[in-house]
């Protein structure tokens, strides 16, 4: 009865319907849309937010200026203070850059002292900006590239040991393929054995040396050195250490040697690229 009374008093314009779509159906569709938005990849949904910010950039900027003005409560014509602040910030930035360059020079001088064979080589220090280390891939991305003289194939040092080679170069960045990457192959020599073998990355922070006859004596803990490669590495340098040495299951007359890096690659913040024939 009350419902009938209530319906009879409802205004006419409120009985509008949306064609054949009922309210529960309308609600369900919108809810599904919301869930799709919620679970859609973020790079897609971020575009919507960036588009909004791009379209309404001007009004949003006005708001920012008003807000800053209200918060700082400074006189309108305080240009002198602004300029002074800009110079102070610039000086602070320059001082910090100078400090970093001095640290870099000290580190590079130490490298030359430690590796006399690389006296004529050029060193470029770079910061690691991305780590991609898993079972199928072991790569680092660094903040130096073609503009800094990097080319494909250059050897890279980390904590005074070879950790890999430059595999891809873009103008400002480069990708470094670690020797543990399954696609990596580097010629190496084990300890005092005067024989070169190919070391292949095995993923999981290790590499493998196979096809070395068991007549050669190899022990766990033996140093593994990256072989000389004219134009890229003029002197052998340590690359890893023998972690395991077993007879190969498929060919018992050969060793199956597992090599581990001699530095904690995942903790490296900066690396050094060796350029054997620097242009300048």
């Amino acid at each position: 009865m009350a419902r009938k009374l209530f319906r009879s008093h409802s205004p006419k314009r409120d009985n509008t319907s949306l064609g054949a779509i009922s309210r529960p159906m309308l609600f369900t569709w919108f809810m599904l849309t919301g869930l799709i938005l919620l679970f859609a990849p973020q790079n897609l949904t971020n575009d919507l937010q960036f588009t909004f910010a791009r379209i309404f950039r001007w009004p949003l900027t006005i708001g920012k200026n008003f807000s800053l003005y209200a918060r700082t409560r400074q006189p309108a014509s305080d240009a002198t203070f602004d300029r002074k602040s800009q110079y102070e910030n610039h000086i602070t930035n320059l001082q910090e850059q100078l400090r970093l360059k001095q640290e870099e020079i000290i580190e590079l001088s130490r490298l030359r002292v430690r590796h006399p064979a690389l006296e004529k080589a050029g060193f470029i220090m770079a910061d690691v900006i991305r780590y991609s280390i898993n079972e199928t891939r072991s790569e680092l991305t660094i903040n130096r590239g073609q503009n800094d003289g990097l080319v494909k194939g250059l050897f890279v040092l980390g904590d005074n040991s070879i950790i890999g080679k430059i595999s891809e170069v873009s103008p400002r960045t480069a990708r470094l393929k670690l020797f543990t990457d399954p696609a990596s192959r580097i010629a190496v020599r084990i300890g005092n054995l005067n024989i070169d073998r190919l070391m292949q990355g095995g993923g999981k922070d290790e590499a493998k040396i196979r096809l070395l006859p068991t007549k050669y004596k190899v022990r766990v803990g033996d140093k593994v050195l990256a072989g000389k490669k004219p134009g890229f590495l003029d002197a052998s340098m340590i690359i890893g250490v023998v972690a395991r040495c077993e007879r190969d299951d498929r060919n018992p007359s050969m060793w199956d040697i597992t090599v581990k890096p001699v530095c904690d690659i995942e903790r490296l913040n900066s690396i050094t690229v060796i350029i054997m024939n620097p242009q300048n």
Partner: protein, 167 residues
């Protein structure tokens, strides 16, 4: 329902909400600001029929998602859900008096804020510390500002405050 006018109005409010202009009236200690889009949600939920209220709730939620920069979809879902619930509730309990409207804004703001927070966690997003204090602050501020903002919304949408009852 004047949909074109609604679209323009919601866009303007979304820009205002996204801009730092509201920081001028932010209250310490958590810099709480009123959520104008949420006030609009309550306004349309109690001033339009149920079908239109569902559409406006989700549309305002979407506007909140793209303007506030939160986890995409969280505001759409929470605004849509509680806007629709409020519209159905309004069919039973008329929310006409100013203090009822303020209370409705407060409760809706708290519920939508909490649900959006949980949806963000579900999506794996990190949240800010003191989240519940922040939600509470916004809800209280919105409840105070809401009835005043209703007057502006009524004038812009050409809706008379006492024209609609329970639908």
């Amino acid at each position: 329902m004047r949909w074109f006018r609604f679209a323009i109005f919601v866009s303007l409010v979304a820009v205002l909400q996204a801009s730092l202009l509201l920081d001028i009236i932010a209250l310490p200690p958590l810099s709480s600001k009123p959520n104008l889009l949420l006030i609009l949600l309550v306004f349309f939920a109690i001033h339009s029929n149920t079908s239109n209220a569902i559409i406006t709730s989700f549309a305002i939620g979407f506007a909140a998602d793209i303007s506030i920069g939160s986890t995409m979809g969280s505001q759409t879902i929470s605004f849509g859900l509680f806007g629709t619930a409020l519209a159905y509730l309004h069919r039973v309990i008329a929310i006409r008096k100013v203090h009822y409207q303020a209370f409705a804004i407060f409760i809706t703001a708290f519920m939508t804020g909490t649900l959006a927070h949980f949806l963000a966690i579900l999506r794996g997003q990190t949240t800010v510390p003191n989240i519940y204090s922040d939600i509470l602050g916004k809800a209280l501020y919105s409840a105070v500002v809401g009835p005043i903002f209703f007057l502006l919304a009524s004038w812009l949408m050409r809706i008379k405050n006492h024209r609609f009852g329970r639908h």
